[in-house]
Amino acid sequence: MNAPSDQKTFRLVGTRPIRPDGIEKVTGKAIYGPDFVAPGMLHGAVLRSPHPHARIRGIDTRRAEALAGVKAVVTGADFPGGAEGTVAGGETPTDLKYASIKCMARDKVFFEGHAVAAVAATSAAVAEEALKLIAVDYEVLPHVTDIEEALRPGGPILHDDVFTQGLAETPTTPSNASLRFAMTRGDAEQALGAAVEVYTGRFTLQPVHQGYIEPHACVASWQADGQGQIWCSTQGHFSVRAMTAGILGMSIASIRVMPLEIGGGFGGKTTVYLEPVAMLLSRKAGRPVRLAMQRGDIFRASGPAPGAVIDIRLGALADGTLSGADIEFKYNGGGLPGAYEVYSGVMSTLSCYRVPDANVVGWNVLTNMPTVHAYRAPGAPQTYFAVECAIDELARRLGIDPIDMRLRNVLRPGDTDGRGMTLGAIGYAETLEATKAHPHYAAPLGPNQGRGIACGSWGNYGGPSTAAVSLAEDGSILVTEGNPDIGGSRAAMAMMAAETLGIAYEKVRVTVADTSSIGYSMGTGGSRTTFATGMAVVQAAEAVIEIMKQRAAQMLGADAAGIEWRDGAAVLGEQRLSIAEIAAKSGMTGGPISAEAAIHPGGFLPGFGAHICDLEIDPETGHTTVVRYTALQDVGRAIHPDYVEGQIQGGAVQGIGWALNEAYVYDREGHLDNAGFLDYRMPVASDMPMIEAVMIEVPNPDHPYGVKGVGETPIVPPLAAVANAVRDATGLRIGDLPLSPDRIYARLQAAE
């Protein structure tokens, strides 16, 4: 790999050109999931369960089918049985059986909003009318939404065929604890016994939603010969293809998925909720069918991130060395098994610190709420919240600066992380040093203000990617790739291709191709796209350069070995052939010039961030205002700094929302009480200060331009950074999120 040295400067990498899809997106021309229209399209609607837990004794759809304008009705009975196995689903593998049940309930509903039937009709109004004519005979069952209640003996059991995985002995009775996963190193008890200080605490978090503004939407069209097309917005159209094929028993190559522009995902659009249902409706109706979710459906029936109960004991020596940890967490997995967050949560806990003796145990607990799904660094923010609050307390007790405390324990190059990977060029210490040196850290605080520090890390990923680079007849360049552009990645691909080829950024145009027009690419997730797909683009561009050198050799009657590629041209001594000249003659030198790279790269490195949060608390109301926020992150090398900073800023604000405001609130009947943006309060512009994003560039030597994944890490530190700032401002360690005004006010009153 031609790794750049630290000193290497680039023509384009690190500059801030305008993104190639920008004008379409600022003028309203870009076509997103809900915007697509197919000729002859029908409008679908989904009937959803009003009960959080019920047995379906029967569904009578006859009156709906008889309504004028209704062209198809489907229920769980229309889904083929036997879907099994797992398919790649972005950041998380997906179990097909439960993916199918998530799309449509069979004999039971497991959460309020679970789909039970769907209709396609000539208008949306007729489809909605038809839903009212479907009679579902429910036997309402006792429900449970709380983690600890779900584990209480004698309570409602969701699945009588789910037995706890990961126990030493195979259990004989079904349980809501679907999974136990543990990581043990050294002797945690012995180390905690020998520690000078041990912090013991319990932390709780509520489920939070990814909160993308674009609702899930798709159009599916089934053909009588068994082929089908889907237009949808998704982080991974290849996953949509595989899941739809697996659930419906179709061959993968028979489905073509066209990725539309995507209006946010954050992990939440790496699965299917609607596409298989729309395809079944289309098969029955013989016409394309649109399905879309309303905002309430999204909150009630699409994956939030798990709430958690976390018990932690963290021990330190007098010099601040973290010596031992015992951490047990329970994640609220929602209605169906298969959530991945327990695995990634265990592997992420302590992932940036040495801690030689540690015991980390995670449980997935099934409850009657929507099945959780990936949300930005899935599983990591919860446990990091507990760990970073515990370190803050230990630093206070030991009288050590919180950044020094972390510097003493943070992983350095050559150390092994929680996944057992030995890490190379990581910049954790550089990031912490920069945090300590940042003017924010020394700035004075005002009355009722506090400052919190916290770190976070995410492992990142490589994953399979395919990209093609080809020459147009005039020498302009086409890049074709398979990763939906969710935050400016077309610009990064064009920049890397242009940098490699030695040409202008504007000479390269990038297409995000459908599943039949480019080879397999894992979805846009896992902080992998700029790393892995970028690497595929660079390799394809390098292969095109080799072809062009051979063509130039033919044109010059020379040996290709003597030809150099310099500044976008083949050079032999004084002779120079531009890409345009080579392209113009390609018909006479062997035909079209094009190359594809299909790769599954290793060499990815984790991300690491350190955040400084200043906030002010109104003692009369308990209301918190974030007054200054700085987020520093080891980003490898930023290809397009605007979009790297944007990831850091956006992730930080999502984390601040999680810390201060956001939570799923269920009533006693198991109904979500705040299924809308008014009551599920995400941060708005007037809640936030500027978020200063500081990029620490420690390039990754295993990527041609030094890239490390960036997107997920920034949501990990804010939860504890905010809580530690509240601790600093009030003296109160509050381990329960969100840190809403009523909670802070009550604790302030109790402390007086």
Partner: protein, 162 residues
């Protein structure tokens, strides 16, 4: 239920459409007139993705009945640029990288233009409070606020007498 015939003006052009009495202006724009730049994020007036200007007032088009557009002036994202000439707010969104997914962007641009039409020199706080009805989940608002402030500065410069 019979449909209503609505005669209105959208981005300066006379338009007529048929709609159900209960249809929203957003539905009419998107489905009858094919103007899908205005987005529906919530349908309840909480996210601002459907923001349009109705007779000079910024509104959530999901909270306005289509029939209310009768005889009035509607300005949508599709009318913000003049032909191929971007409005300074649009240009500054691009220059600052103030969009990631871009879904909320039309609503923000319509709202920001409405702000600058009324207030050529807003403070950062005024920008943040004016845009508080528009949700963005990608950016954390930092670059959006900077883009709007920068567009305001450019517009002030353009309006200065030579």
């Amino acid at each position: 239920m019979s449909k209503l015939l609505v005669s209105t003006t959208v981005n300066g052009d006379a338009q007529e459409f048929l709609c159900d009495p209960g249809a929203t202006l957003l539905e009419a724009l998107r489905e009858q007139l094919g103007l899908t730049g205005s987005k529906e994020g919530c349908g309840s007036g909480d996210c601002g993705a459907c923001t349009v200007v109705l007779d000079g007032n910024m509104v959530c088009s999901c909270l306005v009945l289509a029939a209310e557009a009768e005889g009035r002036q509607v300005a949508t994202i599709e009318g913000v640029a003049e032909g191929s000439m971007l409005h300074p707010v649009q240009q500054k969104f691009l220059e600052h990288g103030a969009l990631q997914c871009g879904f909320c962007t039309p609503g923000f641009i319509v709202a920001a233009k409405a702000l600058l039409d009324h207030n050529p020199a807003p403070s950062e706080s005024e920008v943040r409070y004016w845009l508080a009805g528009n949700l963005c989940r990608c950016t954390g608002y930092d670059k959006i606020v900077r883009a709007v402030m920068d567009a305001a500065a450019q517009l002030r410069q353009e309006r200065m007498p030579a």
